[in-house]
Symmetry: C2
Subunit: 226 residues, 2 copies
Amino acid sequence: MQLIHYSLCPHSRTARLLLNEYGIETALAEEKPWEWRAPFLAVNPGGNLPVILLDNAAICGIYPITEYLIETNVYTEDATIPELLPEEPVARAETRRMVDWFHTKFYHEVWSYLSYERIENPFVHRKAPNPEAIRAAMANLHNHMAYLSRLLEERYWIGGDYISIADIAAAAHISCLDFIGDVTWERAPIVKNWYARVKSRPSFRPLLQDTVPGIVPPPFYTNLDF
Amino acid sequence: MQLIHYSLCPHSRTARLLLNEYGIETALAEEKPWEWRAPFLAVNPGGNLPVILLDNAAICGIYPITEYLIETNVYTEDATIPELLPEEPVARAETRRMVDWFHTKFYHEVWSYLSYERIENPFVHRKAPNPEAIRAAMANLHNHMAYLSRLLEERYWIGGDYISIADIAAAAHISCLDFIGDVTWERAPIVKNWYARVKSRPSFRPLLQDTVPGIVPPPFYTNLDF
């Protein structure tokens, strides 16, 4: 099994965390999402990341990958592997609402702007970031962090009482923002407390060791006690 | 059960078609997505459509709704209700890839532009549509129709050999575009042939009877043999 990913892609990080939680070893192949390389498009015509390569099939995109990993790991006998989706249908729907919140809403309102301005613009197009776009994305980020704070006052994990794919998705997005130094932790102590719990899981360790040319994460990025 | 929806919202149409396929009767409540009404946001803080209201829970967004409807209808004894997701994990992933293609890629590259320029701009903001945005969206639409044509040369349905949630999602998006007159059917005869098959299903009938103030769909919109 191979995972085609990019380190600072929240959807790719979600897949890596899920694979690590399930104890599935995968070779990683990096794909820069802005390059639209023909050999990659031949595998995934949609051009989106991540992609899991099986022997004779490709699973393209975080929605199919998440559901595939849950479906193929749900009957595992290994008690150390967490169930990442509750069994009750309405609880599953609430968990998936929060997964969707991050992969769609948070992604489009925060990450797509910040990644363009802080990564693609300076390193690919050699252009200065647009301060107005950054300001708009940061305002959206503060609103989202406030919503998460309210949510985490009522529940211990993002999707409910137990850790789930919603925490994995949320932590993947927030870890990308943390890498580029955009999370103002002092404004959201409850979210910080939750993130410290997810970040301390063994599944997270490999992600914290990633390096990206030209970007130095803040010193607390790798600290489990930040 | 109540469905909060908007007629010209492809995600809402997907939910209506799924409910109709599964023979689940629901009261419809219209919500205009651009109004961001406080009572609606109290039900769904994400503000996205559609939402299913159960007795004491809300299921928000097309991803949780689709999976919820599949999970709660999969063991039905009624042979007239189609299985809308194959059983084999890789085939399920391919079906979900195409669902995601429409709900995310197609939506953001085509529908979000065209609905803004053709519906929200003239009827809400009383502004003329931006011809450049329309041109860009139409170019994207032609590329997507070409991809669908290639796909449908190899398979009878969008997700594979059987009708699935991918056909439902695809037909929901295309029916919205057809309503505002933006599908150039003569360029994509294979897609037209597939759409005629989906459109003829009883689940589709109620959607074809929708009216939207200020917009007159082309005469072939309601024809099953167009």
